[in-house]
């Protein structure tokens, strides 16, 4: 069967690509669109390293087929910084050493941004449960959770 021809919007830019049915959105992002910021840690939705926004919903791009995204909006880690300025979460993660190896970081940042857009004042409990699908093996989560809460506080102040 011929490949699917898909048009979608990624990080605000219109994109077109061809994909096989079995290719996931993650495969398309990484291998076809060369957006390798989203990572494959498990390919089963258990690690969150491939987190992206799909029409405003946080999803694992490894659990979405490429052919499903026709006409839809996708936001990835590559779209998080605007121009020269990092998103406040990105900045805070750097200042707070909220990453060690950095492989989970793109997914954690995309997920954390989604949280703060819904809930500008999350409790520690809410941050931890929201991020439960983002495995990190290096940090023990402490500095990640702290950085998300500190960013939220700073953003509330404006």
């Amino acid at each position: 069967m011929a490949k699917h021809h898909i048009e979608a919007v990624v990080n605000g830019d219109p994109v077109e690509f061809l994909c096989e049915t079995e290719e996931t959105l993650l495969d398309v992002l990484r291998d076809t669109l060369n957006l390798t910021g989203s990572k494959e840690g498990c390919a089963s939705g258990d690690c969150g390293a491939c987190s992206v926004m799909l029409d405003g919903r946080l999803v694992c791009s490894c659990l979405v087929l490429g052919c499903e995204v026709s006409g839809r909006k996708i936001e990835t880690i590559e779209g998080m910084a605007k121009g020269d300025s990092l998103h406040p979460l990105q900045r805070r993660f750097l200042e707070a050493a909220a990453l060690q190896c950095g492989i989970c970081t793109p997914g954690v940042l995309v997920a954390s941004k989604a949280l703060l857009e819904r809930n500008p004042n999350p409790s520690e409990h809410e941050v931890r449960f929201w991020l439960a699908g983002n495995l990190c093996r290096c940090t023990g989560y402490d500095k990640i959770v702290t950085a998300v809460m500190d960013t939220a506080a700073a953003m509330r102040k404006g």
């Binding site: 069967m1 049915t21 089963s44 939705g45 999803v59 499903e68």
Partner: protein, 287 residues
């Protein structure tokens, strides 16, 4: 591998009924894609039902609620009224996987994946939900407990799909709850799940109840004996003990990597009691 995303139920049914080889319905994809990647399934046709209006909507219907089979957990959680009326169903749906998985996973997919450990299924069964099936022979309603026959075995005919679920009208002083046991706080498959739905009379006595247990048998169980054990009571200690005994008696679990037989029976009883107490507490404040 063919992919189709029909915009009507009829279109989906026609595709599935006419499929040669293996055909799979794609709702949230959180199980299907994993199984495809692991070479467990290799379908010739995938029918994505997310462009079908009925599968994507939450509507009021006949005094109750109709929830499309492809509505995601995240959408259920965001619905302003549902969580008031069916908190147990909503919390069960929101226990399926992570926030990311919530953005995709659906009630229809959770049921049709055919796992006895599916989190939303005991809550739906306790709620008395009906699955609305559409197939080549038309539409029929089936109680959710009758849809799944065993692991990966469903009562669906060829070409038939679950289009939506209907939750019945709720009398006052009613509520529900769902608890599951997992070793971690998130991200695991239920080792045991227990859903309880109940209604109270004017004297805070349980007048109606349904109890359902997950992951303790080859399919999710509706346990009428457990419901009988608490109907007519205020869920005092003796009623709790009867509930636990009935829950235990209903379990027919297996030993596997997620838990032992003994553990599952013990915990099923504990969760049935704890769920019932939460449901009771909620019902009391639901006037």
């Amino acid at each position: 591998m063919r992919y189709e995303a029909p915009e009507s139920l009829e279109g989906a049914v026609a595709l599935l009924a006419g499929a040669k080889g293996e055909a799979r319905v794609l709702a949230g994809g959180t199980d299907l894609l994993v199984q495809m990647r692991a070479d467990v399934v290799d379908p010739d046709l995938i029918v994505d039902i997310k462009r079908i209006p009925e599968a994507r909507e939450i509507t009021q219907d006949k005094g109750g609620w109709r929830i499309g089979a492809a509505v995601t957990g995240a959408e259920l959680k965001d619905h302003p009224q549902l969580k008031q009326v069916w908190p147990g169903v909503i919390e069960a749906a929101n226990l399926i996987g992570s926030t990311q998985v919530q953005g995709r996973a659906t009630l229809g997919g959770n049921l049709c994946n055919g796992s006895p450990a599916a989190d939303s299924v005991p809550a739906l069964i306790a709620a008395g939900a009906l699955a609305s099936l559409v197939g080549p022979a038309g539409r029929r309603d089936l109680p959710v407990e009758d849809v799944m026959l065993g692991p990966r075995k469903l009562a669906l005919q060829k070409g038939e799909i679950v289009a939506s679920f209907w939750l019945p009208p709720r009398p006052p002083r009613s509520s529900d709850a769902y608890l599951r046991f997992i070793p971690r706080t998130e991200m695991d498959i239920a080792v045991v799940g227990a859903g309880v739905s109940l209604s109270l009379d004017g004297n805070s006595v349980i007048s109606a109840a349904r109890v359902s247990l997950g992951a303790v048998a080859a399919r999710v169980l509706l346990v009428p004996e457990a419901a009988q054990a608490i109907i007519g009571s205020r869920l005092d200690k003796p009623a709790q003990d009867r509930l636990e005994a009935a829950a235990r008696a209903a379990c027919r679990p297996i030993d596997d990597k997620r838990g032992t037989t003994e553990f599952r029976i013990d915990v099923a009883a504990v969760l049935a009691r704890r769920s019932a107490l939460i449901a009771l507490d909620r019902a009391r404040s639901n006037n």
